[in-house]
């Protein structure tokens, strides 16, 4: 046993990790979530907006980070739709438009078909230049965005009429996977223009770098899938049964307790926390086993 663990082939570790992630997913294991202060701060910022308030959603991530950031993007869009906010989407990443379209298709087109493009939401698309884009649009958005993502002139989009710059938005919601992302939004938007309020969701690796900005430049932050799960929980607690799964006749499908079944897309963050928990416990066990082997080896060498 000792020799087996001492010379453990890393592929056994990979197999254990595969099982740790796959089994909870396949068994649909979900665990209760409890929102922490930062997730609650993000939720409160969005919740305090009035209906019709303009909100900029900057989705700066790519398919590689969809696993961590996709659920929070969905939750943000859903929250904005439930609050009837006016949503303006843009992205600083070349592959970001696809992420915007996915979120729009998943939430707005599926569950909020009454929201009209150009009146309730608009997709401004991608512009190259990373932080250079932010530097320009904080004072003059229409200088860069002369058309939306589909080529329609900005002048022909009713909800763009009163928007001259990022400062005209009541809130900026940034979902970021790296550069250019939340750090650039904080550096070039909310720091020189303190009237711009930004909340963000980011990958787990990036989160520690953004804590110094909390709470003055960044009132709230969702870190990784945990942050997404907490935010989803808050949104579900407030708006949970608004868009349940429906059968062919349009009636809500009920679970065994008689509660409406919530679509899986609004539970992705919570769902993905199951494998995360099991994987974390696996890593703790691996670390303990590794240290046991280390100390046994040391004691044998000592003899």
């Amino acid at each position: 046993m000792y020799e087996f663990f001492k010379n453990l082939d890393r592929r056994w570790v990979f197999l254990l990790m595969l099982l740790a992630v796959a089994v909870p997913i396949l068994l649909e294991a979900k665990f209760p979530e409890k929102a922490t202060g930062l997730a609650t701060a993000v939720f409160t910022e969005v919740e305090n907006l009035e209906a019709g308030a303009p909100v900029l959603l900057a989705f700066d991530f790519d398919p590689a980070s969809e696993g961590e950031l996709g659920p929070m993007a969905t939750a943000f869009v859903r929250h904005c739709c439930e609050k009837k906010l006016r949503m303006y989407f843009l992205t600083l990443w070349p592959v970001g438009p696809r992420m915007v379209e996915d979120a729009v298709a998943r939430v707005i087109k599926a569950d909020f078909p009454e929201l009209k493009y150009g009146d309730d939401w608009v997709n401004l698309g991608y512009k190259s230049g990373y932080e250079g884009v932010i530097k320009v649009i904080v004072t003059d958005l229409k200088q860069l965005y002369t058309t939306d993502h589909f080529g329609t002139s900005i002048g022909n989009i009713p909800m763009m009429e009163h928007i001259q710059s990022v400062q005209d938005f009541d809130l900026v919601i940034n979902v970021s996977a790296g550069y250019a992302g939340t750090k650039e939004w904080v550096q070039y938007a909310s720091t020189p223009f303190p009237n711009i309020r930004i909340v963000a969701g980011c990958t787990g690796v990036q989160a520690p770098l953004l804590y110094p900005y909390i709470p003055s430049q960044l009132p709230g932050l969702l870190g990784a899938i945990k942050g997404a799960a907490e935010y989803e929980k808050l949104v579900l607690d407030k708006y949970g049964a608004n868009h349940p799964v429906r059968d062919a006749d349009g009636n809500p499908v009920l679970d065994e307790d008689g509660n409406p079944v919530i679509p899986g897309k609004y539970l992705e963050g919570i769902r993905r926390m199951g494998p995360q928990m099991v994987a974390h416990i696996l890593m703790i066990m691996l670390i303990i086993v590794g240290n046991v082997i280390y100390f046994v080896e040391r004691s044998r060498e000592g003899r």
């Binding site: 890393r10 590689a64 022909n156 009163h162 001259q164 005209d168 690796v205 990036q206 520690p208 770098l209």
Partner: protein, 487 residues
């Protein structure tokens, strides 16, 4: 539904003529019938901005009597120049005509016209072109006779520059031309988006050029930044000159850099190549430059030991620079014949495509020494673990705080942050470069002193109470330090 050509054309013209007034109303800066527009701000003034190249002005105004009860924002306008007015009229005309042409297409093909574009017959294309031409002619005539063509109309005279929220009574207008004189207007915007009458500045003003920041010292601006830059750069230059005079400079040992020669030597003994990864960013990133300075040293050592150094890059410009660097290194080692430019090549810009290539290449070719020097993101752990799996000695250096833990856990040696930037000086041993490290250290001393000062003052202020005279002075001093000097 596709109708006969004549009927199609007639219905198109009728449709455009009927749709015209509706379209025109929508194309203008229209707003719903105002139920309750707010009162205009009573007074407005425009001042020159004190830190600009003659292209900015600061507008201030008094609060509207209806603010905040019935005001959601203030809209700020500047006057257009004659050339701008002409251009606006021309652009509006083009947009108006384009809108009518689209209506004409819709009138012929119906609401699903977008999906039919690929299946049109040549005759249909001719009909559509004719209809669009007719619509354009009618739209042009209508525009030329309307208010949108009047240069003196408010909409043409003034350009909406930006807005502020309710109770925010100042705004900075930029992108002005100091050769022109401008008039500014502010309107209060009601909660139903209705606008007040405009409050206009009394006289035109022209912004003036400042050659340096005119903001008062006590308000901030760039004044303090200049001093900080001069102190820091001065320290670096001083210590470089100090080192040139032959005074010894002591620098602590950096294990990762001491191991560079050992790593290359190990690769030579094993007959396997070295792999050097200069990060995934381009030449405009200082970390890439720092990585390439380490590459020069690694390449020179490899040339001396007759080892192979492979440098796959994620950017073409980095590839070009690395080739120059390695070639010069081989030349200085007296081995120009051993240089092979095909060992430095471009892979892909795409992050995970690059790391997928590197992983596969490492598993196939099994380099004995791997150097990761530059900017890395999520791929850092994949590289480091793959290198570990093949038994390579790994030395990493990056200034990405998020990736340092992965490199520390998986690599044999890691250069953390400024150790990576010190690599060039350390490896060359040049007194001048070592002197610059000392100058850098002075910067750290200054930061530490400021931190201790700030923490001490805030702690004392909270102990004596911020309402007391001393507490108030200390709080004001910390505020000045934070918001003026360090901003």
């Amino acid at each position: 539904m596709i109708r006969p050509p004549a009927a199609r054309a007639l219905s198109m013209v009728l449709g455009v003529l009927l749709a015209g007034p509706v379209g025109a109303a929508w194309a203008q800066e229209g707003e719903p019938a105002a139920a309750n527009p707010p009162a205009a701000p009573p007074r407005i003034a425009a001042h020159d901005f004190l830190m600009d190249g003659g292209d900015q002005a600061r507008i201030v105004w008094e609060q509207s009597p209806d603010d905040p009860a019935n005001v959601s924002a203030y809209a700020i306008y500047r006057s257009r120049t004659d050339a701008e007015i002409q251009k606006k009229i021309k652009d509006d005309r083009a947009k108006f005509i384009a809108g009518r042409k689209t209506e004409a297409t819709k009138a012929i093909l119906g609401e699903d016209w977008k999906t039919m574009l690929d299946t049109l017959t040549p005759q249909q294309r001719i009909d559509i072109r004719a209809a669009r031409a007719e619509a354009a002619k009618a739209a042009a005539a209508e525009f030329d006779a309307g208010a949108m063509n009047d240069p003196a109309s408010e909409d043409n005279r003034f350009l909406l520059h930006g807005s502020t929220k309710s109770l925010e009574l100042k705004y900075e207008v930029d992108k002005l031309d100091r050769a022109n004189a401008y008039v500014f207007m502010v309107k209060a915007v009601g909660k139903d988006f209705s606008k007040s009458a405009g409050a206009v500045t009394d006289a035109p003003m022209s912004p003036t050029l400042e050659w340096f920041d005119g903001t008062p010292v006590q308000s901030g601006g760039r004044f303090w930044l200049v001093w900080i830059v001069l102190i820091f750069c001065g320290a670096v230059v001083f210590w470089i000159r100090h080192a040139r005079r032959g005074k010894p400079i002591r620098v602590r040992k950096i294990a990762g850099l001491e191991a560079v020669d050992e790593a290359v030597g190990r690769a030579t003994e094993m007959g396997r190549p070295c792999l050097f990864v200069p990060g995934i960013q381009d030449m405009n990133d200082i970390q890439t430059i720092a990585g390439i300075t380490v590459l020069a040293r690694v390449a020179r050592t490899a040339a001396e030991y007759d080892a192979k150094v492979e440098v796959p890059t994620a950017r073409s410009l980095v590839m070009t620079t690395c080739r120059e660097t390695v070639q010069a290194a081989y030349l200085s080692a007296g081995r120009p014949d051993a240089y092979n430019q095909d060992l430095i090549y471009y892979v892909t810009d795409e992050q995970f495509g690059y790391v997928a290539y590197l992983s596969g290449m490492m598993v196939r070719e099994k380099p004995a020494a791997c150097f990761y020097m530059g900017t890395f993101y999520a791929e850092s752990l994949i590289l480091a673990e793959t290198g570990n799996a093949i038994g390579a000695i790994q030395i990493a250096g990056t200034a990405m705080p998020a990736q340092l833990p992965f490199f520390v856990a998986a690599c044999d040696y890691t250069l953390i942050g400024e150790e990576f930037f010190a690599a060039s000086a350390y490896l060359s041993g040049s007194p001048e470069e070592l002197g610059s490290l000392k100058g850098q250290d002075l910067g750290k001393v200054i930061v530490a002193v400021l931190m201790i000062l700030g923490i001490g003052m805030m702690t004392l202020a909270s102990m004596v109470g911020e309402q007391s005279g001393l507490g108030e002075r200390l709080s004001a001093a910390v505020k000045f330090l934070k918001d003026v000097i360090l901003t």
